[in-house]
Amino acid sequence: MNPKRVNNIATGVIFALVGIVVAILLFLIGYILFNGVPNISWKFLTTSAQAFSSGGGIRDQLFNSLYLLVLTLILSFPIALGAGIYLAEYAPDNWVTNLIRTTIEVLSSLPSVVVGLFGYLFLVIQLQLSFSILSGAIALTFFNLPLLTRSIEESLNSVSSLQKEAGKSLGLSDWKTITKILLPVALPGILTGVILSAGRVFGEAAALIYTAGQSAPAVNYGNWNFLDPTSFLNPMRPAETLAVHIWKVNTESVTPDAHLISSASSAVLIIVILIFNLGARYLGNHLYKKMTATK
């Protein structure tokens, strides 16, 4: 066969492959949105779930997901920030640093179910935190730390080394230079990383089944005392999230309208993650422009 024909055939095959992938994608998004969105109503978002009858909503699950996300970010961001700064600015170029990087890679490649099981073993059983929002948030922190650390490190590394030299040459401590000069410049990248990781955390279920638990007990949204067991803010209560809810109604529950609930919940999940994705993009660009251009 002459090369020209091979070229044409190869190009054709590639276009076909791309076409199929795009079709799959469109189908996926279309399926979720077409099946899900019509079922999303204010009532669905604001009533609690029903175990044995149809018509249940996802109020508690949605709140649990958001609350867990907030707690996870509060726990993981400071640690990831410190670790990211260490790797980007302090780590010497030697075997110890190499070992540390390998360790973080190992953590990031662990299947989330393994992280969840470790959380169960360590938090729920060893530390006796029981199935609770707190256990879930810590498990998600384990899962979130390596990615967040890496994105913070990369954002810091992308700041020109000239900025660091400028700070140092004025007699500022390395710490001041990093926190007051480099971090503001790296902020758009860091924020993008945080928001993208928030999307992952929001959709995660495997790490939560045995840490945050699979039940959503009734809570009182008017009770702001977070030590009270009935308070919606109590971190020691079990909390089924939206993602876990989808898994549960599809595998274990006897809810008659499981399909409806899952498609609407999936749509909610995808829409929230889509908002996170677009938000990260927009905020990153916006902040970057604001930082570099004139006021």
């Binding site: 020209k4 590639i14 276009f15 994608l25 410190g82 953590l107 393994v114 059983i125 279920a205 989808i246």
Partner: protein
């Protein structure tokens, strides 16, 4: 002069700041390392209890075909054969990677070599979005679309390795694609120009120059995809059927390591053999994840020597 000398030789606010900042960072990185050590330690000690406390033989565990840790067999011994789950896990992983790789490569070649910046601008966020879709959503679509189709075409329940493979294929596709795009884009522009200048056409350039230069990176991409498939739990668990049987075909219900773990951990009592046996499954998962990591490092080292 004396005053400046004193200033130069004594500690200042900046010294203390730096000390504090450094300590904070060391503490944070220390936490992460301690965490990883803890994970390895806990899962390993739990995972080997099956062999040390319950005296199950490692060989029997890895090659036994019957899984019934709660009961006993005809010899009065508990049956803890993990082979069906190991085989199923490997089958779905390898099959998903085999199916996904050509598509991912096609996408990657299209994005880095054929489409202009416009095509890439459209496909890039699309791929990112696909990566971001939670696994339960993939599982749900697998359950409500893939399984019924398989049921119609092949009969039976529809659950099984085929359904698992299809779901995992879609899940690892974006992972492999985006890593492949990165490694194709890392091939220096001069290679392309040199090849085209020698009279090679586009496909010859792609096939003989670019794909070969990027081979280590592409292999790494596939392995990352396999690692993701091997460790995926819920999406697979929802479509695989969860029957601990040696798989006899692609459309009979089976069970992977992860699916067994997600369904059973809550139903067993800590410290008993049924529970210990599950932790041994988790240990296999952990070891495989470390193995994938090692392979990636090995390829990276080989690849960098060639340069």
């Amino acid at each position: 002069m004396k005053e400046t000398q004193n200033k130069l030789l004594s500690k200042s606010k900046a010294t203390r700041e730096d000390y504090l900042g450094r300590s904070i960072c060391y503490f944070c990185i220390g936490l992460i390392i301690a965490l990883v050590v803890c994970i390895l330690y806990f899962i390993t000690t739990r995972g080997i209890a099956t062999f040390t406390q319950n005296h199950v033989s490692v060989w029997g565990f890895l090659t036994g075909q019957n899984w019934n840790p709660g009961g006993v067999d005809s010899h009065g011994k508990p049956e803890v054969g993990a082979l069906p789950m190991i085989v199923t896990s490997f089958s779905v992983t390898v099959l998903a990677a085999l199916v996904a790789t050509p598509f991912a490569l096609g996408m990657a070649i299209f994005m880095s070599e054929i489409a202009g910046s416009k095509g890439t601008k459209f496909l890039q966020p699309v791929i990112e979005l696909l990566v971001g879709i939670p696994s339960v959503v993939y599982g749900f679509i697998g359950l409500s679309v893939v399984v019924p189709i398989i049921r119609k075409v092949f009969g039976g329940t529809g659950f099984g390795i085929l359904a698992g493979t299809i779901v995992l294929f879609v899940m690892v596709l974006p992972t492999i694609t985006s890593l492949s795009v990165d490694s194709l884009k890392a091939v220096p522009m001069s290679y392309r120009q040199a090849s085209l200048a020698l009279g090679a056409n586009r496909w010859q350039t792609i096939y003989k120059v670019i794909l070969r230069t990027a081979a280590p990176g592409l292999l790494t991409a596939v392995i990352f995809g396999m690692a993701r498939a091997f460790g995926e739990a819920l999406a697979v668990q929802m479509v695989i059927g969860n029957a601990v049987l040696m798989p006899h075909g692609l459309v009979s219900p089976a069970s992977t390591l992860t699916s067994k773990l997600t369904t059973e951990v809550g139903n067993t009592v800590m410290g008993t053999l049924p529970n210990n046996a599950l932790w041994s499954l988790a240990l296999i998962l952990l070891l495989m994840s470390l193995f994938f990591n090692l392979v990636v490092r090995f390829i990276a080292r080989k690849g960098s020597i060639k340069k």
